[in-house]
Symmetry: C2
Subunit: 213 residues, 2 copies
């Protein structure tokens, strides 16, 4: 029974990796759509996010099947519940990538990024992509060092989030309400994306200590 469960866990892990890979692609494209006002790329994100949703729904069904057929207990049970949580977080990360891409669409052909904030948003996007990439690696290789790396990237992201507000409220930008709205939303989406990555990293921390225990 234990071996069957290990095989099931492996299947869950592989599916989480595949969803995370598509989340990484989505945030990469969303960042590029947002930075370059590229509507075609924005639409690609929207398609990919629909695919993420259906993959997450299938994974949820698989975990429910595993619970029903194998009735795991104790730490095994926690692993499965953790997988359900991680899939929810990955789905939310996809939603946030879509929100960022949609900002690009709304403002097209104008840029959604107010002048003076381009550099910060390029950096925020790069941090989100890097976090997504670390999450793919963490899910695949289960190397606990990656957990701290994700947390460190999130700290950098939070600093940039604070900096966006500073800039938006500074004299140079203070008279541009449309820019203030876009920058506030975009910055919030990037920040929440990072929060969900951290929450997956925390689940993996538990997952890894549980697997070893």
């Amino acid at each position: 029974m234990r071996e069957v469960f290990q095989q099931s866990l492996h299947e869950v892990q592989e599916r989480l990796v595949r969803i995370a890979e598509l989340v990484e692609t989505s945030i990469e494209n969303a960042t590029s759509a947002f930075g370059n006002s590229d509507v075609a790329v924005a639409e690609q994100v929207i398609d990919d996010v629909a695919e993420i949703e259906s993959m997450a729904a299938e994974l949820d069904q698989l975990t429910i099947d595993i619970l029903a057929r194998q009735q795991p207990v104790a730490s095994d049970l926690r692993l499965i519940v953790g997988a359900l949580r991680m899939s929810t977080s990955l789905e939310r990360m996809g939603d946030l990538a879509q929100h960022i891409a949609q900002l690009a669409r709304y403002r097209y052909p104008e840029s959604a990024i107010p002048k003076g904030l381009k550099k910060i948003f390029v950096r925020m996007g790069a941090l989100d992509v890097e976090m997504a990439s670390k999450i793919v690696e963490l899910l695949r290789q289960q190397d606990p060092r990656l957990i701290d790396e994700v947390r460190d990237l999130d700290d950098d992201l939070d600093e940039l989030h604070a900096k966006v507000f500073e800039k938006v409220l500074s004299d140079k930008l203070a008279s541009n309400a449309a820019g203030a709205v876009d920058a506030t939303l975009a910055s919030r989406y990037h920040e929440r994306f990072g929060d969900h990555a951290v929450s997956i990293a925390k689940q993996m921390q538990f997952f890894l200590s549980g697997s070893r225990g």
Copy 2:
């Protein structure tokens, strides 16, 4: 075994109701703190949200214990997984109430609400409170009519959310970047609060059809 499971489900339901009641109190206080720049009430929200988090963590532990001890299958299993999801949504609603309360604290003694938007935010707050109250009722009485009522309230909320952006970008407010940032964030928090209420209503819809099945 079925009877034991029904008792466990009842315990889960009661705990969800208690958490939802505290969420209702929190959004009521958050709305009042935000509208009246009342820092003491804002701090009450922050305390209550810490309590919501610990109640949600206890409920998660209870559902995991039920899964382990009673090993429910099929629709019973889905009910328990649904309870886990609802508790996650309630926790997020508490977080959003806290974010709204914090906006009041940041701007104190100034008001966080830009002039010209006070009415809309009073209405948004009232809608969120009403949705939270419907969720309490729905969890307690399990009356499916409440599900549609929650959805209708969310539609109203989404309209107001769109209206906030319209107003922020209108001539009268367009030169106030701080107000634009606060209004954008507050509106987004209110809107997300409603989304989570709808997601609980959807879970309950499944829950009720599952219980009947």
